[in-house]
């Protein structure tokens, strides 16, 4: 089982920043991230994960009270990852970088450098940017259509991996006696000329330790899933129920055959949000405490973000009125939620509390063994190959997971007790990367 820890602001639950033990200013304190990463490494997790979108979103929508939320400020992931490499030794480090608002040469150079600094522990969460607020920070009036973004992403990956292959193994004899620093015959100009990019190469950084860094993707649009099947090594999936998880899992894996890839070449990581206690009652109390910290205005804003209309002015403890959902990022999940609202006669407050408890991710309230049970079920019945553990609050939620759930997973033989592999590629079960220029037998890994 593969386990990642997203260090997502102060946690995934909207109320988390108001808990007494959560550092409300942590998003700008390197020590907050360092502490979370050290906890994850103590638990032998595979990687920490930094999601990203280069904007403060929805600031101009009066129905979304961003001023009462904690998710707006961040540290830029590539810079943060370089610093985290200094305070960790074994754990993988994954940063999100968009192919829409960056240059492939810069990204290749940055990631190659990070991979050297971290000794082969870096992964790239590749996104194409879904947010209009982000687009407007880069001179666009609206988000480019998904087809064009994914077409650019494909070419972008070709260029980046091509640049990583600029130098063959052994290209730098650095021989003081002969004075030969690098071997010209082992250097390649990429000379890429495509629709979006013209890049000569070579990369001016030596081949990164992993040669090709693992690529992680996320999303559930048709374009995103197709890209995942074709190019990704792992995917962060969105699934609020095991049925949705299995359907997503099968969908991605079924798409892979036409690219000549075996299903195990993509590791599916489901998002799970554990509300964890030593007893079920303690777990329930923790969730209740967090739910009580969501201000009603914030809850109504959450509904807005998930396709519900502006419900300001309604009694939040009254029944959800007749509503027509708009279309947006989470259509399938919003539709599922509305069905549940109707089936269970939920109030407005109960509806946003359902979102906070796990909307596109799977929320589970219980003891370590309850949480391990569901993880085992997802893992063994084709819903996930691993998880991104979305702690509702940080760093305490990560410490609880590592101290309580990890030992339980280890006891069941589902998770490692020691780090063995050196690189993130190896940990994700990937074979050593082979240069596109490797032709002779001896250059191919055994």
């Amino acid at each position: 089982m593969i386990l990642g820890l997203p260090i997502h602001f102060l946690g995934y639950h909207q109320g988390c920043w108001r808990l007494p033990d959560v550092p409300a200013d942590g998003v700008l304190q390197f020590e907050h991230f360092a502490e979370c990463a050290r906890i994850a490494e103590r638990g032998k997790l595979d990687f920490v994960f930094l999601a990203d979108s280069a904007a403060v979103r929805n600031l101009d929508d009066p129905s979304i009270p961003r001023d009462r939320e904690h998710e707006h400020l961040r540290m830029e992931p590539m810079a943060l990852l370089a610093a985290l490499a200094m305070v960790t030794e074994r754990i993988g480090l994954v940063a999100t970088v968009s192919t829409t608002y960056n240059e492939p040469f810069m990204v290749a150079r940055g990631f190659a450098s990070l991979d050297h600094i971290a000794g082969g522990r870096i992964g790239w969460n590749l996104v194409t940017g879904f947010s209009r607020d982000e687009a407007r920070n880069y001179g666009y009036d609206a988000v480019i259509d998904s087809d064009t973004r994914h077409e650019r992403a494909r070419e972008f990956v070709d260029v980046v991996n091509g640049l990583y292959d600029s130098w063959d193994d052994g290209a730098f004899p650095r021989d003081r006696a002969t004075g030969i620093y690098f071997d010209r015959a082992k250097m390649h100009f990429l000379d890429h000329r495509g629709t979006h990019f013209t890049v000569r190469g070579p990369l001016d950084v030596q081949t990164p330790p992993q040669r090709h860094l693992p690529i992680i993707t996320a999303g559930y649009s048709d374009q995103a899933n197709e890209f995942t099947a074709e190019r990704a090594n792992a995917v962060y999936s969105a699934a609020p129920t095991i049925e949705v998880g299995r359907a997503y899992y099968a969908d991605v894996k079924n798409r892979m055959a036409k690219y000549g890839r075996p299903p195990e070449a993509v590791t599916v990581l489901a998002g799970i949000m554990p509300f964890l206690g030593r007893t079920r009652q303690e777990a329930r109390d923790k969730l209740d405490r967090l739910q009580s910290l969501i201000q009603p205005e914030v809850g109504l804003g959450m509904l807005r973000l998930h396709n519900f209309p502006d419900l300001r002015g309604h009694d939040i403890d009254g029944p959800m009125p007749e509503v027509a959902l708009s279309r947006g990022r989470y259509d399938m999940f919003s539709d599922m939620l509305l069905e549940r609202v109707r089936r269970e006669n939920l109030t407005i407050r109960q509806t946003y509390e359902v979102i906070a408890e796990g909307f596109w991710q799977y929320g589970k309230v219980g003891t370590a063994s309850d949480i391990a049970d569901v993880m085992e079920e997802w893992f063994t019945t084709g819903a996930a190959d691993g998880f991104n553990v979305q702690c509702p609050y940080l760093p305490g939620g990560a410490a609880d997971f590592v101290d309580l759930v990890v030992p339980e997973l280890q006891r069941r033989g589902l998770f490692r007790k020691q780090y063995e592999e050196a690189t993130l590629r190896e940990r994700l079960g990937m074979a050593p990367a082979v240069s596109r220029y490797a032709t002779t037998r001896e250059e191919l890994p055994a």
Partner: protein, 329 residues
């Protein structure tokens, strides 16, 4: 105190991170104010600065980047983050026009004609600095009891629509600890001096002798006045290298004894030709320590340096004024 930096300027690519880390730690232990990480083959300077921010405690970190290859929003958040990580020890050097071989990796981008390289880089630098002011210093209440995280009256849309960039803002990180991490320009060319007068706070100059340094200063003062900036808005630091150093050509080479070098530095400083110096060295920690052991006592004797400078923001160490937000009353 006379600002004193060091520039890692080995002629060959440096791809061994441990060597760079050891060099940075040696420079820090020797009491240098900051470390320049120039653009050169090898590890990316901005990535290096971010890693070194966590691997050092006192020394300033100043990586270089080339203006045409970066989006201002990306630069503002990445560089601002490093100022947060380093707790105010960050500065950056902006190169308006990169050399030809680099341009070939970006041939799909429209490259600015040479006559607009400076205005374009100045616009970029202006946007970066403006994005850093997106949130007022006291914007964040983080009041757990009332549930108010920030004050809506204290952030600013940028809505920049310029000749070269459109950026809406606000930035997704808070004001850097220094407010405005200082920007450096590597001098020696007319366009570099134009950009320095328009937008920089540090000029890394490369004078050949004292008269040259004085002429440069005089020219820059005129340029600053034309831009409506005061003469002390730009800190001028001259690059010098011990003759034994294995570094790229550029800096003035000095071959005197440590006492004579210290005397020369004092003279240049006292005549107002420069404000301080940047010593060019290879990435060898031993060479850095050796130079420091030779030179620092001589500088201390002349009152040009303290024993070990305090842990303070890079702006302070360079003698730059505080940088309040453009929106501060």
């Amino acid at each position: 105190m006379m600002p004193l930096g060091i520039s890692l300027s080995a002629p060959a690519a440096v791809t061994d991170f441990d060597q760079v880390l050891a060099a940075a730690q040696a420079a820090e232990a020797a009491g240098f104010d900051f470390l320049c990480l120039p653009e050169r083959p090898g590890l990316d300077p901005i990535a290096l600065a971010a890693a070194l921010a966590a691997g050092t405690e006192r020394i300033g970190l100043v990586p270089s980047c080339s203006a045409p290859f970066h989006q201002p929003y990306n630069l503002a958040r990445r560089l601002g983050s490093i100022d947060h990580i380093s707790q105010g020890r960050f500065g950056w050097a902006l190169q308006p026009a990169p050399p030809l071989p680099e341009i070939e990796h970006f041939a799909h981008l429209p490259m600015p004609a040479s006559d607009i390289a400076v205005p374009r880089a100045a616009e970029l630098a202006g946007i970066v600095a403006a994005l850093w002011d997106s949130w007022d210093d006291d914007a964040f209440l983080r009041d757990k009891a009332s549930g108010m995280y920030f004050d809506r009256a204290k952030f600013h849309w940028l809505n920049h629509e310029g000749a070269h960039y459109r950026v809406r803002g606000p930035l997704d990180t808070a004001r850097p600890p220094q407010g405005r991490p200082p920007m450096m320009v590597l001098g020696g060319t007319t366009i570099a001096h134009d950009l320095a007068c328009a937008a920089a706070e540090i000029l890394h100059s490369l004078p050949r002798h004292l008269a040259d340094a004085r002429a440069t200063r005089a020219g820059l003062q005129r340029g600053l006045a034309e831009q409506g900036r005061s003469a002390d808005a730009l800190c001028i630091l001259a690059g010098i290298a011990p003759t034994s150093a294995d570094v790229q050509p550029g800096p003035l080479r000095v071959s005197e004894t440590p006492a004579m070098i210290a005397a020369l530095m004092g003279e240049w400083r006292d005549t107002g030709a420069v404000d301080g110096f940047i010593i060019h060295l290879s990435d060898s920690p031993e060479a850095i320590t050796q130079v420091a052991m030779d030179l620092m006592p001589a500088l201390r004797e002349r009152g040009l340096r303290d024993a070990l400078p305090p842990r303070s923001p890079l702006r302070d160490r360079l003698g730059l004024h505080a940088a309040p937000s453009r929106y501060a009353a």
